[in-house]
């Protein structure tokens, strides 16, 4: 039998987290090297459309568990579903997004299957000799990179950061089989009940922003972020922050970029008053273009900036905002 490279497709009310498709794209590459197949697991309620979408993103087969118990994500039934599938089909590799859902789920699955799990991976490749999966992740705050293998247990499992791999192109004409499986759990057997859900006013979508205007301790005060927000809004982007700015209480944790924050991949990343510590860099160094403004010419951010400006951010920001407003004005006229 061909080795199976599996991706858990994470969806909320039928809306799929893009990291699942990014992983499906990568799974296709890994499968090729293993002479195997890339397959998707879709769990949820009334999610057949998600299964079809998975095929258009490259799944060679989809396993679908469609059950009212899976209406919204809960650890117990979702873990049970995936564990049963793994026991039945014995995949070689199982990949999940390093999202709150993926990380909640992966630890439970790996423990039940008594296999290894590598968290928060930023690189995947197949060892040409042993055919093992090499999973690379930053360790010790990003100071070093560690490659992890799981040679004697299957599946080889990891959670992978969003934006690590590119989104594959969608091909709606692709055809593949959908295999329906039973969950075999009744609502009465599930111990955790959701009684309410308080949605966030604004979901910060940093990982997928095209422009990020990020500020660090160099802003000096919370109000600095209002300038950054204005600029980000003008550019149709998002605000980002270093941990120092978050720790100072100037901005919420969800805006944090880096090792313990988000990994981003915008077209342009503006780093304003950010020194560029390694833990920050691991989260943003894959931006297409990095602009840094910092008063200290020795700041490590300049080692990775495509355009480095040594100077005071407060000198540059207001005229920059003015200039962009003018540009926008011309654009409309």
């Amino acid at each position: 039998m061909k080795p199976l490279v599996w991706v858990f497709v994470e969806q909320e009310e039928g809306k799929v987290h893009p990291v699942s498709w990014e992983l499906l794209g990568k799974a296709g590459e890994l499968a090729q090297e293993l002479d195997g197949v890339a397959e998707a697991l879709v769990l949820g309620h009334q999610v057949e459309s998600v299964a079809r979408e998975a095929i258009s993103y490259g799944a060679d087969k989809v396993y679908l568990i469609d059950d009212p118990v899976l209406q919204y994500y809960r650890n117990e039934p979702y873990a049970q579903g995936v564990i049963n599938l793994c026991k039945k089909y014995k995949p070689e590799i199982l990949l999940l997004g390093a999202t709150p859902v993926g990380r909640d789920l992966a630890g439970s699955i790996a423990t039940s299957l008594e296999t290894g799990l590598t968290a928060d991976v930023t690189g995947l490749e197949i060892d040409p000799k042993s055919k093992n999966l090499i999973m690379t992740r930053p360790a010790f705050g990003g100071n070093i990179m560690a490659s992890i293998i799981c040679p004697n247990h299957r599946p080889q499992m990891s959670t992978v950061r969003p934006r690590t791999f590119p989104l594959p192109t969608k091909d709606p004409s692709r055809q593949a089989e959908i295999i329906r499986e039973e969950l075999g759990l009744r609502e009465e057997e599930i111990r955790v009940k959701r009684v309410d859900f308080i949605p966030k006013d604004k979901v910060v979508n940093l990982e997928y922003a095209e422009v990020i205007v990020a500020g660090g301790r160099g802003l000096g005060k919370a109000q600095g972020f209002s300038l950054l927000k204005e600029l980000a809004q003008l550019l149709g982007g998002e605000v980002g922050a270093s941990r120092a700015a978050v720790d100072a209480g100037w901005i919420d944790y969800e805006y944090q970029v880096g090792q313990t924050g988000k990994t981003v991949r915008p077209k342009v990343y503006l780093a304003l008053g950010i020194s560029g510590a390694i833990q920050h860099r691991v989260g943003m160094q894959n931006a297409d273009f990095i602009i840094a403004v910092n008063t200290d010419p020795k700041a490590p951010i300049f080692r990775i900036a495509d355009l480095g400006l040594v100077g005071d951010l407060y000198q540059i920001l207001p005229p920059l905002i003015e200039a962009i407003k003018k540009e926008r004005g011309h654009g409309k006229a």
Partner: protein, 270 residues
């Protein structure tokens, strides 16, 4: 209520330095702390004890020096502290760690079953967030990760409400104890230690469990042997090469602004 808290002693990673020549960690002089999320787990246990009365057991797996972390736990009102320490435990990945902790918890639960298991959402040295979910599986208790609030709604029926942070909002979950919760910072703030507990903490000698006593562990499931994952290679990340560095004092503000605008246009943003 019978509460178990699992804490880990970690190097204060803010102070970590890498030897640029060897690419290895400089451990000398790096202070150890209780993993920050575990401090909030301890704070929650302490709060519940003050509100409802509780017996708090705290365990940690680590080298002998992890005893210090347990002393800190006593300051939070821990009634019993246990150190799982043995060379055979060393080198454990999350699978072996969850086995070692879960077996100890099962052993301790023989005396009196636990109602609540509190873990940190993740340990800052590895950031894996896998040990809590692993232990929940091994104990067969329901798991709630990323918890930011816990309320006891019915003490008799042992019903609790837990708020859990997700990517799109906060889930309000109801569950009957026992449950294993991994705690985020918002769950509770550390209290000031009253003096008697500080004195008690200083005098505390934790109970030590090793690989044979009081639990005859399965050797092959411990430490490096019991860990399916292996470190294949360790290296220092490559820096991508830098572009132009210009001094605003030399080129002037308007030129600097123009440079930025040019990039934004070139990249299709403006």
């Amino acid at each position: 209520m019978n509460i178990l808290v699992s804490i880990k002693q970690v190097p204060d990673t803010t102070n970590i330095r890498i030897n640029p020549e060897t690419g290895t960690l400089v451990r000398e002089g790096v202070p150890s702390i209780v993993n920050p999320y575990d401090v909030h787990a301890l704070a929650l246990a302490s709060l519940l004890k003050r509100l409802y009365g509780a017996h708090i057991t705290v365990i940690t797996m680590g080298p002998p020096q992890a005893e210090e972390a347990l002393k800190e736990a006593v300051e939070f009102g821990a009634d019993r502290v246990i150190l799982l320490s043995d060379r055979k435990f060393a080198g454990a990945d999350t699978l072996a760690t969850s086995y070692t902790l879960a077996e100890a918890i099962k052993y301790l639960a023989q005396e009196a079953p636990f109602d609540l298991f509190l873990f940190g959402k993740q340990a800052i040295d590895g950031d894996t967030a896998q040990v809590g979910p692993g232990v929940a599986r091994r104990l067969g208790v329901p798991l709630i990760t990323y918890a930011v609030k816990l309320e006891i709604i019915d003490q008799e029926k042992k019903e609790v409400i837990v708020h859990r942070k997700t990517a799109s909002g906060v889930e309000v979950l109801k569950v009957t104890l026992p449950v294993l919760i991994t705690c985020d910072k918002e769950i509770a703030d550390p209290p000031f230690s009253p003096l008697p507990e500080l004195i008690k903490a200083a005098q505390t000698k934790p109970e030590i469990f090793n690989a044979q006593r009081p639990i005859p562990y399965k050797r092959e499931k411990l430490g490096l042997k019991g860990s399916p994952t292996r470190v294949h290679r360790v290296y220092t990340p490559q820096l991508k090469s830098a572009g132009d560095i210009l001094f605003v004092s030399e080129i002037g503000v308007s030129e600097a602004v123009e440079k930025i605008i040019a990039v934004l246009k070139d990249r299709g943003i403006l």
